[in-house]
Symmetry: C2
Subunit: 321 residues, 2 copies
C-alpha cells in the first residue's frame, strides 16, 4: 500500500493560474492569481509563487502537476507550441522542478481535465472537449490519458467540419475546424458580425455603446433572453454536434463531456449539440455513449493536474517511469 503523498494541482490558463491541494477529488487551500503574461520566466516564477502560497499552512507537497493550454512533449515536459501563454519552446517541467525542488509533471490542460472527468464519471473511456478561448480536447482510453505517439495528440479542436469554413483563430493553419466554430473567439467573431449587420439589435446597440462585442457579452445577452444572441449560441451548438458525432464514431467513448468556460452556458447550446450528434453519429455507437457537461466545472483542470501527478509519481516510484 503506497502512502498517498500530498499533491498540488495547478491549472494555468490564459487569464489566471489556479492551484490547490488535490486529494480524493476534493480541493483544499485553493489559490488563484492572474496569469503573468510578460514573459516565460515571469510566468514560471508566478506558477512557483502560487504553489508556495497553497503550501502556507499545509504540508509540503511531494509532487506538483501542472496543466497548460499548450501542446506539450509529455516525456520532456517541454512546450512545443503555445498560442495564449509565453512558454513556446520552454522546458517547463525542468524549469519548475528547479524552482520547486521536487518532481513536477506537465501536461496539456485539456488532458488533465479529461482525466478528472473520467474519475468523476466513473468511466475508463472518455472524450472531453474544452470550449474556451480555443477548443481543446482530452481523451482517456482504458483509464489512461491518450497523448499520441509523442504527446502532441488529441488536438480534437482541429478536426474540420466545414472544409471551406472560416479560418481557425488558433495556431492552426486550417479552416472550418471545430475551433473556428465553437470557441469563445469564434463566438465573439460571430457576435461582432451580427452586431455590425444589425445595428438595431441588442448586440448592435452593445457595439455602438461599448465599441466591442465579446463572446461573454453574447452569452449574457442570450441568457437574458435576447433571441439573436441565443441563435448564435444555438448555431454554435449545432457545429459542436457535428464534431461530437465524428468523435463518437472515432473513439466510441462511454462518456463525452463538454467543459471549459463556455460550458457554463451549456444549457443554451447543448440541446442543439446533442440533437445534431444523434442525427449524425453511427446509431450503434451513439446508443452506448452518455453526453453531458463536465462535472468538475472550473476546478477540473486542478483536479486532473493533481491526479496526473499522483499517477505519474507512483509509476516513477515503481520504476516504470
Amino acid at each position: 500500500m503506497v502512502r498517498m503523498e500530498t499533491v498540488i494541482g495547478v491549472d494555468v490558463g490564459g487569464t489566471k493560474v489556479a492551484a490547490a491541494v488535490v486529494g480524493g477529488g476534493a480541493l483544499a487551500a485553493r489559490v488563484e492569481h492572474p496569469t503573468e503574461l510578460g514573459d516565460g520566466a515571469a510566468l514560471l516564477d508566478g506558477i512557483a509563487a502560487v504553489v508556495a502560497e497553497v503550501e502556507q499552512g499545509t504540508a509540503r507537497a511531494a509532487v506538483v502537476g501542472v496543466g497548460l493550454p499548450s501542446q506539450i512533449d509529455f516525456s520532456s515536459g517541454t512546450v512545443v507550441a503555445s498560442a495564449n501563454i509565453p512558454l513556446q519552446g520552454v522546458p517547463v517541467r525542468e524549469e519548475l522542478q528547479r524552482r520547486l525542488g521536487r518532481p513536477v509533471f506537465v501536461d496539456n490542460d485539456a488532458n488533465c481535465a479529461a482525466l478528472a472527468e473520467a474519475g468523476l464519471g466513473g468511466v475508463d473511456d472518455l472524450v472531453m472537449l474544452t470550449l474556451g478561448t480555443g477548443v481543446g480536447g482530452g481523451v482517456v482510453i482504458d483509464g489512461q490519458i491518450f497523448r499520441g505517439s509523442s504527446g502532441l495528440g488529441a488536438e480534437l479542436g482541429h478536426i474540420v467540419i466545414e472544409r471551406d469554413g472560416p479560418e481557425c483563430p488558433g495556431a492552426c493553419p486550417s479552416r472550418g475546424c471545430l475551433e473556428a466554430f465553437c470557441s469563445g473567439t469564434a463566438l465573439a467573431r460571430d457576435a461582432l458580425a451580427y452586431a455590425e449587420a444589425h445595428p438595431d439589435s441588442q448586440l448592435g446597440r452593445e457595439l455602438a455603446q461599448e465599441g466591442r462585442v465579446s463572446g461573454r457579452v453574447a452569452t449574457e445577452a442570450a441568457q437574458d433572453g435576447d433571441p439573436d444572441a441565443l441563435a448564435l449560441l444555438q448555431q454554435l451548438g449545432v457545429s459542436l454536434g457535428v464534431g461530437m458525432a465524428g468523435l463518437i464514431n472515432i473513439f466510441e467513448p462511454q462518456r463525452l463531456v463538454i467543459g471549459g468556460g463556455l460550458s457554463a452556458a451549456g444549457d443554451l447550446f447543448m440541446p442543439q449539440a446533442i440533437s445534431e450528434a444523434e442525427s449524425r453519429a453511427l446509431p450503434a455507437l451513439y446508443e452506448r455513449v452518455t453526453i453531458g457537461l463536465a462535472r468538475g466545472g472550473a476546478d477540473a483542470g486542478i483536479i486532473g493536474a493533481g491526479t496526473l501527478a499522483a499517477h505519474e509519481f507512483q509509476r516513477s516510484n515503481r520504476g516504470e517511469g
Copy 2:
C-alpha cells in the same frame, strides 16, 4: 518461448473471401473465392470451406483469424452492423468456432489491415484509412488495435469534412463524411454526374455506350490520361487530405497509410491528399508523421487477421483473455 502455432487469416470482402496460412509476414496456400451473399449461413459455410481448402496439404491451423467489413463487438465476435455482407446480428465467432472446431477471432477488416501495416512499417502508432466500397479505418496505439470502449470504434470514414456535403452512401445517417467523398461509391457517383453533365467527355461516351459509369471505369480512364477523370481522382485526394489532417491532429501517429482497392490508383490522388494534409495539419504534428500507401497491398487483410489471431491466441493461453 511459445511455439508459434500455424495460423490461418481470412479476409472477407463484399465480393471475395481470401485466406492463407500466415507466418512471419509471408503467406502460404492462398485461396480466394467469391463471397456467398445469399444469406448469413451460406456465407459462414463459405468461409469454413475456404479454410478447409487452405488446409489441404498443410498442417491443421490451431487458430483462425477473420476480418469482416462490419462493425463488430470484439469480445463476443458478433456483427453489430454490416452494410455489404449478410451477417448483421450474427455471432460470427461462435458460429465459425462451431464449424471449424477451434478458436476463432473476428475483427473489423480495417483493424486487421492496420495491425499488418504497423508490423510492416515497424511502428507502434499507426492510422490506416481503407478506401474501398466504403471508407474504413484502423488505428494501432502502442502496438495494439484500438477498438473503442466495446469494439465499435475507429470508424474513421465517418468524420464529417463538409457538414452540408453529400449524403453518406454507407450505413451512416450523416452527410459530408469522408466516406461521402473518398469511397469507391462516391467516386462512381461523381463520375456518373460528370458523365451526365458532359456527354462529349470520355466518361460521357462511356455512359452512352455502357449505360453506366463505375468508379473502376473512372480510375482506368484517369490512368489512361483522361483529364476529366483525373480531376475527379485529384478532387477525391483533396478531400482525403482534409480528413487526414484531422486524424493526424487527433492521433499524432508515427505513420498514416492509405489502403483498400482504390489505393491501387494512389499515384493519381496521393500528391493532392498529402499537400492538403500538410496545409491543414498542426505543423508540429505533421512533422512527425510519415504518409504512404499500404505496403501489404491486397493481402494486408489476410496478414492482419492472422496476426490478430496469433496475438489473441497467445494472450488467451497466458490466461489474459
